[in-house]
Symmetry: C2
Subunit: 338 residues, 2 copies
DNA sequence: CTGAAAGCGCTTACAG
DNA sequence: CTGAAAGCGCTTACAG
């Protein structure tokens, strides 16, 4: 009904628009999509899932859910995955996506340089894109969806602060190589230090940081042994990503108790560590919701032509043994039989 | 296309169904709602909002949001509100709803007896209903959406346990009259005691409970004064509902510091107490999401004829000064200009 | 350039 | 009872 062809007397145009407004006219999307028979292709570029239940299986769940919902609107979603250890795999998939010329893209800008190149091409082709998980400032993005990692580091610090004595020794552990490519762990550490540095009372906590790169995978036990020996004792350990369950394993094997242990993300292994009491708090970010929202945002913008928020920080959830069961989204069980 | 009239040879029927399955046939809801021109009326029965930003303004937000989304499917939602101090107002609205014969109902079963009567009538008329906030067992409900309050009490206890010395004195405060009608506060208290009673190590915390009925509104300060005087000192206070900001006011006025204060629900007044540091933790339940989901569940069941879960516990969120900003749902700000 | 017709995948009132 | 036609609110290909 509303088209945009030809010249119309601006006065007439305004009159018509005013009447439409008065009648509160809204185009019927149902009728519109039904009639147009148009089909929309979105592309997704995220890390692969190297082992079962690894972190990126969760955003993928949300993406698949959104895909199923939007299918009736003629939306197809192609998911492309790259290896977190291999920037060239990112590049390769990015090229495939560009060749397909999708109407919109969701991407996790994991590798800074490669992502910047990809994003430049997308802008060139005027393909709108949504960042998921991490952000690149000043990039003409449609939207960013993820966690404020600085603030989540602040929160971790607060939890130690409230639950440990004032002179506690806390060890911060970065797990996994390629930290230069990952914003989250560094930002979390910054937030963590910021919390303690900006305390009004004289802060007496002793903070130490170590990195365990993935090439040390086999012998990270001895690295931690050495560190603890060096600093004498440890009251709390903060792991800046989802690998906290490995520290839980370490503590159990070494039979070290009464260490406050906090990490990130509700992957299966971490849930188990929460249940057996080794991990005290898990700070989480609703990854399924992130995946779902990323796709939904593209849909809102491209098909519904609705305004979308440019920054969409998901909640920073504190998960303990007690509330764990209420954070498992999209589980298939618990359905009625009607 | 698929109808249910007349007799068909069962064999033929099965064959056809099989072919449909093979073709993965799914009726197009868009075309269906467009063609049918059917209109669906839902009714909602929840408490009113006695002062700005009071708790029930939030589920209402979620309900309105869902109403806007489902409007294009021909769904209309009538919201009826009752006074939390007046069971007869519940009754009156329930009668109005029954007269309107809606296709589905969302209700907060606040008054046990009145709710039971209403629910019996709904079952009689075969009108499906969804409980929001509170539950009534064995009631042929379509679904319950709300918080597991026993578990949220457990969680509150855990937070005190981790952040207070082993011999701490904790005061539990029930605010508001008519507790006999409200399940949440009592269940939360039960969970709270349960946590400390089931600790493996000898529990040395001293727990005290008081009730402040709303007729004492004017002089609750003196009631707390008296209680604290009686028990000598207090290290933590747990308020079993959203009225925790009033205890925060009390502590500020009396200049009492270093009391760990935990309460429920992110209403505006509580958010402020969190920011100024009087309240340490707020345990929240995503009320907007509850409102939204209640309506959505009715839609899924009645229009989409999808199976729905019969119990839908929302997450039990721990909110602090640090993650507060990421729990404000549905705020209108922060939108881009595209 | 523009108006009018055909059609999207369904439902429903209706003729036979 | 049942098949075929009309129509839901749009879009699009097409005739003039």
């Amino acid at each position: 009904m509303i088209h945009n062809r030809g010249e119309v007397n601006p006065e007439t145009r305004d009159k018509i628009l005013k009447i439409l407004e008065e009648l509160d006219y809204r185009p019927n999307i149902l009728a519109s999509t039904l009639a147009s028979k148009k089909t929309h292709r979105f592309a997704v570029l995220i890390p692969d899932v190297p082992y079962p239940d690894a972190y990126w299986s969760k955003p993928l769940l949300g993406i698949s859910e959104a895909a199923a919902e939007l299918q009736q609107y003629g939306v197809t979603i192609d998911v492309h995955q790259f290896s977190q250890n291999d920037p060239s795999s990112f590049d390769k998939k990015a090229k495939v996506i560009l060749n397909n010329k999708p109407e919109g893209v969701v991407l996790a800008p994991f590798f800074f340089r490669e992502s910047n190149e990809f994003v430049a091409k997308l802008n060139e082709h005027k393909i709108p894109f949504v960042f998921i998980d991490s952000n690149i400032q000043d990039s003409k993005k449609l939207c960013f969806i993820g966690q404020n990692s600085f603030q989540s580091g602040m929160l971790a610090a607060k939890l130690f602060d409230l639950s440990l004595p004032k002179d506690a020794t806390i060890l911060i552990i970065h797990f996994g190589k390629g930290l230069e490519n990952q914003n989250h762990p560094k930002q979390r550490e910054k937030g963590f230090y910021n919390y303690f540095n900006s305390k009004t009372e004289e802060s007496q906590e002793k903070l130490h940081t170590i990195e365990i790169s993935s090439s040390d995978d086999q012998n990270y036990y001895s690295i931690i042994d050495a560190e603890i020996k060096k600093i004498g004792q440890v009251d709390g350990i903060f792991v800046t990503n989802s690998q906290v369950y490995r520290i839980a394993e370490y503590l159990i094997l070494r039979n070290i108790q009464h260490v406050r242990l906090i990490g990130h993300d509700l992957i299966r292994q971490n849930a188990e560590s929460l249940k057996n009491g080794t991990v005290d708090f898990l700070i989480c970010q609703r990854p399924e919701e992130q995946g779902h929202q990323a796709v939904q945002t593209l849909f809102d913008h491209i098909i519904l032509k609705k305004p979308v928020r440019t920054d969409n920080y998901t909640s920073i959830d504190i998960v303990t043994k007690e509330n764990l069961d209420y954070y498992k989204e999209f589980n298939q069980s618990n359905y009625g039989t009607n």
